[in-house]
């Protein structure tokens, strides 16, 4: 194959690469933040709050990402929600990931020993301080592997955004492949890129995990 093709399309690929990283990062951070809010609200909310959130979780989990994205991007304007491809894509990713993140946090919170919470209540700590200072930090440790795992799944969902013309790496590769008939080389390179990307994330995840569990290891 002709390497100069990659050189010619380099700038496009590079900007696609940047956008893919950005979409993944924001999708993960915003989705996790929304999921965290949902999990806390589920824990402390009343019956109706819990019911609404549970329904939200089931609906989002029960529908394909592409359908959600089309609803948002093509259906949105019909009710006055007009978004550019990138904001629509980011919002879509955030919504799509939030129920999975919420479930991760919910089960992590459940794994926090009740005694740790009661120790806070017994000295009169406000519930919000208990969430912030005890439930979250202790829960995060047990949630971390699942969080990393789901963020890895999200890397691969970002390619869906190309369908609503977000010019991320999939979109740019497609463009190059169509223009130059480099279907094999282009998509192979894309596949390799994602593999490497995922490998980096999982390594960083493991390192982070070792770091935050260091003080939990009992002395010998």
């Amino acid at each position: 194959m002709d390497v100069s093709i990659f050189a010619e399309y380099g700038p496009r690929l590079l900007s696609g690469f940047g956008l893919t990283i950005l979409c993944w990062l924001l999708g993960t951070v915003l989705g996790a933040a929304l999921g965290l809010l949902i999990a806390v609200a589920q824990r402390y909310g009343g019956r109706s709050v819990r019911w609404v959130l549970q329904t939200y979780i089931e609906v989002i989990r029960g529908t394909p990402f592409l359908v959600q994205l089309f609803l948002l991007y093509y259906g949105g304007p019909m009710i006055g929600l007009r978004l550019d491809p990138l904001p629509a894509g980011l919002l879509g990713l955030t919504i799509y990931g939030s129920p999975y993140f919420a479930e991760i946090f919910r089960s992590a919170f459940r794994a926090v020993p009740l005694g740790l919470i009661e120790a806070g209540r017994a000295i009169g700590m406000p519930e919000l301080a208990i969430v912030r200072r005890i439930l979250l930090p202790v829960g995060l440790v047990s949630a971390l592997p699942a969080l990393v795992n789901f963020s890895i799944i999200l890397t691969k969902e970002t390619v869906i955004l190309s369908i609503i013309t977000v010019p991320e790496l999939m979109y740019q590769t497609q463009y190059m492949a169509t223009m130059t008939f480099t279907y094999l080389e282009g998509y192979l390179a894309l596949a390799l890129f994602f593999w490497g990307f995922v490998e980096v994330i999982s390594r960083l995840g493991r390192r982070l995990e070792r770091r935050i569990t260091r003080h939990l290891i009992e002395r010998s």
């Binding site: 740790l116 009661e118 000295i123 406000p126 301080a129 930090p137 939990l216 009992e218």
Partner: protein, 258 residues
């Protein structure tokens, strides 16, 4: 001398679903004295202790701390506000069987946390006071350790320091030495004895009959959710009248002789 609280428990009943866990409990806990709660496992000792700071809600009756009802606005009435409950709890220390130290914080941070979030002290001052509290339980050289790097006895002493640093007027202990290796029990009991000598009101659920005999001012015996008897340790432990107490003590002595 600390300012010590009294506790008045009147006709307290507690249910877990259909199960009647505490039956019409009446118990007076005088200020500055040590009260031990003993009885077979499952008799309701923890439940009763946890009603005193309303970690467990009682269904009827009254628990009065210095004459002030805890948990409800009026007997059998509405729940008291969270803020008022928090305020009452902030003067009641509790020590758990499983220590319940926060694993992500050092010993010093564990002790400082309540001072910061409840008493509103600045970090530096809270850490300073935490250091003093840890010094009093003999752990000034372990302040920077996380709980996982401490022995059980050290962890329980940190937990006591965490409670004591809040300047409580009443301390509740739920089997504070039951999770400890035998050789570590003494160091925790010594800290508790020092607290008692300082005039703290203490309610202690324990299986340490030696502690009950020598440190308690009164011993209450529970069986199947009933308060069977309350008396001075010498009387209730040496010449119990109730056959349930006799049989409990017999089992205890048999187990400990072998």
């Amino acid at each position: 001398m600390v300012e010590a609280s009294s506790v008045e428990i009147r006709k307290v009943n507690k249910y877990y679903g259909d199960f009647h866990a505490l039956k019409d409990i009446d118990l007076s806990i005088p200020p500055g004295k040590v009260t031990c709660l003993i009885g077979p496992s499952g008799s309701g000792k923890s439940s009763l202790l946890r009603c005193i700071n309303f970690l467990e809600e009682y269904d009827s009756g009254e628990v009065l701390i210095d004459g002030k009802l805890i948990g409800y606005e009026t007997p059998g009435g509405r729940r008291m506000s969270r803020r008022k409950l928090r305020q009452m709890r902030s003067t009641i220390g509790m020590v758990f069987q499983q220590f319940n130290l926060w694993p992500h914080m050092t010993a010093q941070e564990n002790v400082a946390e309540g001072l910061r979030r409840v008493r509103g002290l600045r970090k530096a001052e809270a850490m300073e006071r935490a250091a003093q509290a840890l010094d009093r339980v003999g752990l000034s050289d372990r302040m920077a350790n996380h709980p996982a790097r401490l022995s059980g006895g050290q962890q329980q002493r940190v937990a006591i320091a965490r409670a004591v640093a809040m300047d409580p007027r009443l301390m509740l202990f739920d089997e504070p030495t039951s999770a400890l290796d035998p050789e570590l029990v003494g160091e925790v009991l010594n800290v508790m004895k020092a607290l008692a000598a300082g005039g703290m009101t203490m309610v202690v659920v324990t299986h340490e009959m030696g502690f009950a005999a020598h440190v308690a001012d009164q011993v209450a015996f529970l069986d199947a959710g009933e308060l069977v008897g309350v008396d001075a340790p010498a009387r209730i432990l040496r010449e119990p009248e109730d056959p349930r107490i006799q049989s409990f003590l017999r089992t205890y002595h048999e187990r400990n002789v072998i």
